[in-house]
Amino acid sequence: MSRRPEGGESGGSTRAREHLANERTLLAWVRTAIGLMGLGFVVARFGIFLKQVAVMSAADASRESVASAVIGTGLVGAGVLAAALGAARFYRARAQIERGRFEPEAFAEVIVVAVTIVAGIALVVYLAATG
């Protein structure tokens, strides 16, 4: 990659600040991915806990356990997707910063938010159905 010279239009270290901003954006993606994975793990594993409670109270929780495992795994998958898309976006933005022509994108954001909205709707429906 050809290196863009330091000193932007204002004569300051714009290039460095752009790369640092790009790095913070990647870290934001990583925190989002960890959040999605954490929520997914809790949702998936809570089914096991409820199953145990159902054994103690003689209730049926088999349906609940399957639904929470599916939704939880979906959320963890969304987390993995967020990490992968965030990393790809980071490298694309890095190249664009070096070229001096940044192209704003919304694809990764739209995909991750859309997948999470679908999982979130499933979660709310599941909460309503099992409550």
Partner: protein, 123 residues
């Protein structure tokens, strides 16, 4: 090539877009936290219902669901705001819109009261 952005050059425009992406992420994480809070309240309520057969707990059924649904709404609003902001950054004028921020704070307040009600009801 036409100059895009609000002036200040390409570096400022790049940083504006990256800051906007981080803002979306922050909103999205707030949404996930609300979803998690709603889920926790609803499921722990269910545990209480099954173990203690308390009718007061059964009456609290919608609380967790509403908080989770609120979290979902925050995600949709954040995505719409991100796409609008993207156009604003490319245009000449950036218009901050504090209404969504105030709505989120109100929603967090409602979620906090919900958790408090839950904590008082389930002892």
């Amino acid at each position: 090539m036409a100059v895009r952005g609000r002036g200040g050059g390409e570096g400022v425009r790049t940083r504006d877009h990256l800051a906007s992406a981080r803002t979306l992420q922050a909103w999205f994480r707030a949404s996930l936290t609300l979803l998690a809070a709603g889920f926790a309240v609803e499921k722990l309520r269910l545990v209480g219902v099954r173990l203690r057969h308390d009718p007061a707990l059964a009456a609290l059924a919608p609380l967790g669901r509403w908080v989770a649904a609120g979290g979902l709404l925050v995600s949709v609003a954040a995505l719409a705001d991100f796409l609008r902001r993207r156009r604003d950054i490319e245009g000449a004028v950036f218009r901050p819109r504090p209404a969504a921020n105030l709505a989120l704070v109100a929603l967090v307040g409602v979620a906090g009261v919900t958790v408090m009600v839950f904590l008082v009801a389930v002892r």
